[in-house]
Subunit: 321 residues, 2 copies
């Protein structure tokens, strides 16, 4: 939840005059998303999301993200479509921040996903991987395996304050993952953050994907590993193999997985758990004074990582032989 | 900014089934309003605001507030209209909290009001006072003059930590106001919190009033005094007499003010400044651990109070003789 930047009346009017969207009928800050300031914007022509990009998003990456949404939408993926201004710019500035308007997507994110939701997410993830295939702009994954050790170095000292022995455990985990990480699997544009709050459903059907601000070029099956962590654990920490079977089946029904991808899935899921453990640990140890956002518990992903470490056979994920 | 209560999928579905509004197409927490959890709700039939009433609002008062919105809307005031369920209840429960759905009001609140906005607010305030005239439910003003001394007692000890001498100054102010407070002025239902964020404008015209959760029975001219504090001071603390003249003229064009009301306006505005000083001081001294909301500066209203204390002639407000 966060609205960081307040938009003065006159600046909004000048900004909106660039777009062919008519007059503003309503603008309300949305209490979702912790990275940027998001406003629900109603105008004469419809409803939109106005995003002011806060400092955590690198300005140089914005053309990649906005171009990707254009590209995926053109490829049949239901996602927010950036609105271009009269000079064909999708990106402008407002209240001192980079800002963009995207179309409004109907749907509700599911607080307690079922196996059927997981199947639909698997399908949508595979469709996104295929649709991104011919997107020519590239963005390295700054939170991929090459980024984990530097990220860890910044948190090593405080890690044991969160859990005794955590620093040493993560150190060994990094050694093991770097040694065993698969390097030649099919790759392309991945979402990299497809958690339940980034997937909308409408009347039981998946209605769209949002929040492409972690999207990058990386291994497709790693993105699937992220979804296993995001969708297939219960609130009590138990792994639900029915959900993971449904998610993987859904994915394979749209984009087949090679033998190498299937065999690698456990280590990719394990690495993905470490990635979220590391970013959460980083945030946990650096809560700013007067913070509006309570950081998420890093140990949730420590437990997920331990699950993948112990269950590193494809069968543990319900993968059909 | 605040969304306190998270609504589980199944509970929302059961709640919505009570209302003739069709399926939910979207639900988003709104980062505005600090008292309650507000969601923007889109369904097959339109857009609504879903409010979960948090602890700060007394549950026993909710029928007064919701009935008032019904009453004012029927009297031609543009305000959110409570949606009644199939059993004609405007108030239900959701996620363990009292909850209501009201209609969506188009418009944008003005960050920097002009004299023309002030005139429109004066008109709307007077129209609301007239329309509330035959509302038979009553609610005492718990934040009226009788409530100020008890409120102050809870903050007296900490007051000097905010500004040296503040406790003694407020004590003298209370004595003076209690002695001079006018008791026989025309009274009825007042809004009691008509700040700029509670007034929507659309294409330069006032499109509606929201947030009736401080409404109560009290002196009409006191409500006008609140608006002088809410609308007529500049960001640097200066009082803008052009705006107050416009606000009071707008009011009088709809509901005439008696000589006694005009003469009392300075002391009513002074009391209203003290009311907001006291509630802000209360909140300032009690910021909960891990608070999501940064409290507003109480000294803003100390300065406003000082203005009214020094300028206690009607002419200082631009009141026409």
């Amino acid at each position: 939840m966060a609205v960081y930047t307040e938009v003065p009346d006159e600046e909004l009017a000048a900004f909106m005059a660039r777009y062919p969207l008519g007059d503003v009928r309503s603008i309300k800050g949305i209490a979702e998303g912790v990275e940027n300031s998001n406003y629900l914007l109603a105008t004469d022509t419809g409803q939109y999301i106005l995003t002011l990009y806060e400092k955590r998003v690198a300005e140089a990456d914005l053309p990649f993200f906005l171009g990707l949404m254009d590209h995926l939408a053109a490829g049949g993926i239901s996602c927010p479509l950036p609105v271009h201004d009269r000079d064909d710019n999708a990106l402008n500035r407002l209240a001192g921040r980079p800002a963009a308007i995207v179309t409004w997507l109907e749907g509700v994110w599911v607080r307690r996903p079922t196996a059927e939701h997981c199947r639909a997410v698997g399908e949508a993830l595979a469709a996104m991987h295929l649709a991104g295939g011919d997107y020519t702009v590239r963005r390295a994954n700054s939170l991929g395996i090459a980024g984990w050790r530097p990220l860890f170095e910044g948190s090593r000292e405080g890690a044991d304050s969160v859990r005794a022995g955590l620093a040493s455990d993560i150190g060994h985990e990094l050694d093991a993952l770097e040694a065993a990480w698969p390097r030649d699997l099919p790759a392309g544009v991945i979402h990299a953050d497809l958690f339940p709050d980034n997937v909308f459903f409408l009347r039981g059907e998946l209605s769209g994907l949002i929040d492409f601000y972690f999207a990058c070029n990386d291994t497709f099956a790693y993105d699937l590993g992220i979804c296993l962590n995001a969708w297939c654990f219960e609130g009590d920490g138990a792994f639900n193999v029915t959900k993971s079977r449904a998610l993987i089946r859904g994915y394979r029904s749209v984009r087949p997985l090679s033998e190498a991808e299937l065999t690698s899935l456990p280590i990719l899921a394990r690495g993905s758990a470490l990635r979220f453990l590391l970013t959460r640990l980083h945030d946990w140890l650096r809560v700013p004074e007067g913070a509006l956002v309570v950081p998420k518990d890093p140990l949730e992903f420590y437990q997920k990582m331990c699950f993948h470490r112990s269950a590193d056979e494809p069968s543990a994920y319900g993968i059909d032989p």
